[in-house]
């Protein structure tokens, strides 16, 4: 079989993993952040990454959408290798949506503008079409009425929901959530979790880093526990929370549950 040209996107079918992570290593100088991570995310699956604080989990998410380069290993997103110097980063990022802990909304534009900007300037779609989509998304995250509010005028939970809508506007195939409720007041955490759960119920593939164990137990198909850059244990939530095998897992769970 002749090898395909370098820039051709290999054909991907839904029976293959949407995100395929194989033996990913990454270090900041001498400090090893990721020491060989391997797992798959199938289409429609929800994977939750939990574990003690440390850069590993958030960094892994950033490796998936090529915000951070990896040293060794392979990440395939819909068959496209991320660890490839010739990677078309922009094409990759159109397929992968990311929501951050600090929301990172653009403070000088209204909520609606924040959602509309990327589809118009990146996807080059028609403005009226995008506006309709953006308004629909704001309704979906239950923020209709706040379209012309600036991020500074919104609460943390509201800002985070706008951030989710902003990523959804690009109609990605997989969503990455990086501890999105960690910076929120407890009252507003719930509204964001409800929004994410609705997304999950609609079939969105999600990779979620979180400390919210109850939420993880509810939505995840698989839970991965990482510590110091490697996957210690994983399993479906029911099994994971009640019958964890590794002592490190049990110690972590006993500290937070």
């Amino acid at each position: 079989m002749t090898s395909p040209p370098a820039n051709a996107i290999p054909r991907w079918t839904p029976d293959q993993p949407l995100v395929r992570i194989r033996d990913v290593h990454m270090a900041f100088g001498k400090h090893v952040v990721l020491g060989g991570i391997t797992f798959d995310v199938m289409k429609g699956e929800v994977i939750c990454l939990i574990g003690p604080s440390g850069a590993g989990k958030s960094t892994l998410l950033r490796c998936v959408n090529a915000l951070v380069p990896i040293d060794r290993g392979s990440i395939l997103v819909e068959g496209q290798e991320v660890n490839d110097p010739k990677l078309d980063k922009l094409a990759l990022r159109r397929k992968v949506g990311m929501v951050f802990q600090q929301y990172n909304l653009f403070p000088h534009r209204t909520a609606l503008d924040n959602i509309m900007m990327a589809p118009i300037h990146v996807l080059k779609r028609d403005r009226r079409e995008v506006e309709a989509l953006a308004r629909a998304l704001m309704r979906k995250v239950r923020l209709d009425g706040k379209e012309s509010a600036y991020p500074g005028e919104l609460s943390g939970g509201q800002q985070q929901r706008v951030a989710i809508a902003r990523s959804l506007a690009m109609q990605p195939d997989v969503m990455l959530f990086d501890e999105v409720t960690a910076a929120l007041d407890p009252e507003t955490v719930k509204e964001v979790l409800v929004t994410i759960r609705e997304l999950v119920e609609e079939g969105m593939t999600c990779l979620i880093v979180t400390h919210e164990m109850g939420f993880a137990r509810e939505v995840a198909n698989q839970i991965y526990f990482t510590d110091r850059g490697i996957v210690v244990e994983h399993g479906p939530p029911a099994e994971f929370f009640t019958n964890s095998r590794d002592p490190r897992t049990r110690q972590f769970l006993s500290q937070i549950l």
Partner: protein
């Protein structure tokens, strides 16, 4: 010139340079009053010294005011021009300072360091003496009068300072903004144009206005290199009048003119700084 640092210290409050004392408005009229009192005293003393005969100091000053105003107008015009040209060039160099390409960054750094760290008077001499007195472009001959060379000479440090302002402002934008736009597949240029630079404008405005104040205060330097502006004219007035008791009043008068122009700018800068305080 003086950069305000946003509140980065957890315990210590933000470092607000323009001062946050509340009753500022009342102080301003008092400053002006004090200055005016000093001025009138000087005039009075001068008049007492002159004795009877020659016209009073105040009358002399009023007589020469239109001429002085012309000189001052040239100062302001040069400052606008130098600031305008310098700002445009400075933004370009500033973008070079944050370029991803090392040679561009290096060149921009050299330009910035060179023109920021050279004394302004030396820059002026450099430009006055080493720039040609006329340019030959194509078939045209463009004369370069002294004030144009001086304006260019002062535009160079403005450019370097604005470049540094731009770099500082871009660096002060939280990294999350870059991450979020990258994640949304914006190109670097799109990110700069639509997200980073618009947020920079607010942060840059108070120090930019401060720079303008300093530029205006540097205008009399051009008199040293031969431009006929308010400082030169003051000297001319003194030599034509030939009265030593005019010395103190006329220099105080000139100082008053500059104060009257710069002080409102300083106050407006302080107000804007408070309003744009980075949270």
């Amino acid at each position: 010139m003086i950069a305000v640092r946003p509140g980065t210290l957890a315990v210590l409050k933000p470092f607000r340079l323009a001062g946050a004392s509340a009753p500022r408005l009342r102080l301003s009229t008092r400053h002006g009053a004090l200055l005016a009192i000093a001025f009138l005293l000087a005039v009075g003393v001068g008049d007492a010294q002159a004795g009877p005969g020659p016209a009073s100091i105040l009358a002399t000053l009023l007589k020469w005011t239109p001429l002085l105003a012309q000189g001052f107008a040239l100062d302001i015009a040069m400052s606008f021009l130098a600031m305008g040209v310098g700002t445009v060039a400075g933004v370009v160099v500033g973008l070079g300072l944050i370029s991803l390409r090392a040679p561009v960054r290096g060149l921009a750094w050299i330009v910035t360091q060179l023109f920021r760290n050279a004394p302004w008077l030396v820059m002026l001499f450099y430009c006055m003496l080493l720039l040609p007195f006329e340019l030959h472009i194509g078939g045209m001959t463009i004369p370069l009068p002294d004030w144009v060379k001086a304006t260019f000479g002062l535009g160079l440090p403005v450019m370097a300072n604005v470049a540094e302002l731009v770099r500082g402002a871009v660096r002060s934008i939280p990294f999350g903004q870059w991450e979020a736009s990258e994640a949304l597949a914006f190109t670097r240029w799109q990110t700069l144009r639509m997200i980073i630079l618009p947020q920079c404008i607010k942060r840059m405005t108070p120090p930019w206005m401060n720079l303008y104040s300093i530029l205006v205060a540097a205008m009399p330097l051009t008199s040293v290199v031969g431009v006929s502006e308010s400082m030169t004219l003051t000297g001319d007035i003194l030599s034509s009048e030939g009265r030593s008791e005019l010395l103190v009043p006329i220099y105080l008068y000139l100082l008053l003119w500059f104060f009257a122009y710069c002080y409102p700018i300083a106050r407006a800068t302080a107000v804007l700084e408070r309003r744009f305080q980075v949270r």
